[in-house]
Subunit: 294 residues, 2 copies
DNA sequence: CGTTTGATATGCGCTTATGCATGGATTGGC
DNA sequence: GCCAATCCATGCATAAGCGCATATCAAACG
């Protein structure tokens, strides 16, 4: 075998990849946790090493040359293979010492995880934990997290998932707000109420209507895009929000809207990449999460 | 985009790849032109970084662990992508300064190339030339060379090829040897002669028989596996060998066997990878080779 | 038109990695 | 069973790469 064509510095290829994808040296440096001059010099060195001009230096940022674009295609393939290396490596690792990243929505991260994390820290002090709280579901295929807590079954093929339980979600508002809209008792009474939406796709609206309410977009004057913000808005008497019944019932500032109404059931899924879940420490965390969330 | 999974040191992955493929740190170090301790430390560091034991240290060499084998698969994909990067980079390079590697059989390298190389050096002093003389056809897809001189049309899809001309090949031997076997005039007279073979696959035998001779394996008591060695054996009167007519006729030590016999025509092809041939300096060399070989 | 922001280059001190030389260990051959 | 060859590990001097601080520049905004 001839290795001439793999002799070039692969880290420089990585620098080029991230710089091209992020659009600037500074952004790439932030993404990789390196200094911006370092990446600049690596890209320069790669250009000299390959004899190709990759970027056109134009004022504020860089612009890919046609040659750079051509090369980027192949460097992307390197990056995807590198991702698979990292993914598989995590799965192969049988060391209990290391990092496990858990992705969850802000609510779950803030409301459900803390006691479990505390228990996990005591049981396995060698495991370093990272909580990725994000409104959007993390991409486990790209290894943005090792384990994700989701409210829907995953559709991606390479993921394994375990349904933990169904959580009753209810509508909450402050007593003051409920007084203001006349203490509604029936779904029909909510036709003029203000709801605080948490995503713009309308699934919240459809879900509520499926339960017997008849709402329109005019009932959603506020979009929070963040669970915690939504909950704070509800606690400040701005409108009605949906929340896990176990959490909402413990919050003294709010009361159930329509107390006798059947709760809206949504599932909690624990999801992990098949490759990653073969890792011993990921498995430990996965199993403990599954047990304690139930 | 999340770059966590590409953060690890790619050069260490390269060290692992070459070490695993070559079978030892020392061999990998030779292949990459690095020191053996360097690769050893890089592999150690990768194991620590990924938390995976890649090799089992057993006496003289390393043995891949199952985890290492699993990871090697993905690292190989990185290496293949890296090869494509290098390949495409050579093609994108419009700089006349740089290296061009020419692969040819030993005969072509020794007999045909020297005057052309001399001319090329004068015309393009900025181009550094490397001659890869090998009995086996170089793998252009893996970029073992930029340009290859071959005696057959390439079958690989991504290669471009140009047929230069047909070369008359003839049989040669020393006058002393021809005297010894009775100065043969007809193909039939060669039924007892010794031929010097250059490959073990029998194509030489079949080719000669296709021209009217009736030889068996007993006529090939010597296998040289090297064109120059074969030619030296012929010049020392050991037997009959085949050679380019332009070369053989200029050699005072030998004479044609069956002077009036039609020569065996074999083609000369100039071959390059499609990607690589877009490089300016490769193109320059390619065109000059094509012109001067005709 | 000046200010601010966010970007790329450069100089410098220092950490890190590399190569060389060497020692220790194992395999294969005679 | 010894010898030679080959390979991996370690210590040390050196060189290369990195991060920090800073200068410089361009674009957007008021």
């Amino acid at each position: 075998m001839d290795w001439r064509s793999v002799k070039f510095d692969w880290n420089r290829a990585r620098a080029f990849l991230v710089t091209a994808e992020e659009g600037s040296l500074s952004a790439a440096a932030r993404a990789l946790g390196m200094a911006q001059p370092t990446l600049g010099r690596q890209v320069d060195a790669l250009e000299a090493e390959l004899g190709v001009i990759l970027f056109e230096r134009v004022g504020r940022g860089f612009v890919l040359t046609p040659s750079g674009l051509e090369l980027l295609e192949h460097v992307r393939a390197m990056g995807q293979a590198a991702t698979r290396v990292s993914l598989s490596a995590t799965g192969q690792s049988q060391s209990i010492e290391g990092t496990v990243r858990i992705a969850a929505s802000e609510t779950h991260a803030a409301m459900l995880l803390p006691p479990i994390i505390a228990k996990l820290r005591l049981a396995e002090p060698g495991i370093h934990l990272e909580i990725v709280a994000s409104a959007k579901p993390s991409d486990l295929l790209r290894h943005e997290a090792d384990i994700a807590i989701r409210n829907f079954a995953p559709t991606e093929p390479d993921l394994i998932a375990k349904k933990i339980r169904d959580v009753p979600a209810r509508l909450y508002a402050t007593p003051a707000y409920l007084d203001r809209i006349g203490n509604p008792q029936l779904p029909y009474d909510l036709r003029q109420a203000d709801f605080i939406s948490i995503d713009g796709s309308g699934v919240f609206l459809k879900g509520l209507n499926a339960l017997g309410l008849s709402l329109t977009e005019r009932n959603f004057p506020i979009l929070a895009e963040n669970y915690l913000v939504m909950w704070e808005l509800v606690k400040h008497g701005i409108g009605i929000g949906i929340q896990d019944g176990n959490i909402g019932d413990r919050e003294p500032l709010v009361r159930r809207v329509l107390p006798d109404f059947n709760p809206f059931m949504f599932p909690i899924w624990l999801v992990a990449h098949r490759e990653v879940n073969t890792s011993r420490r990921v498995r430990v965390v996965f199993d403990l999460l599954a047990a304690d969330l139930a």
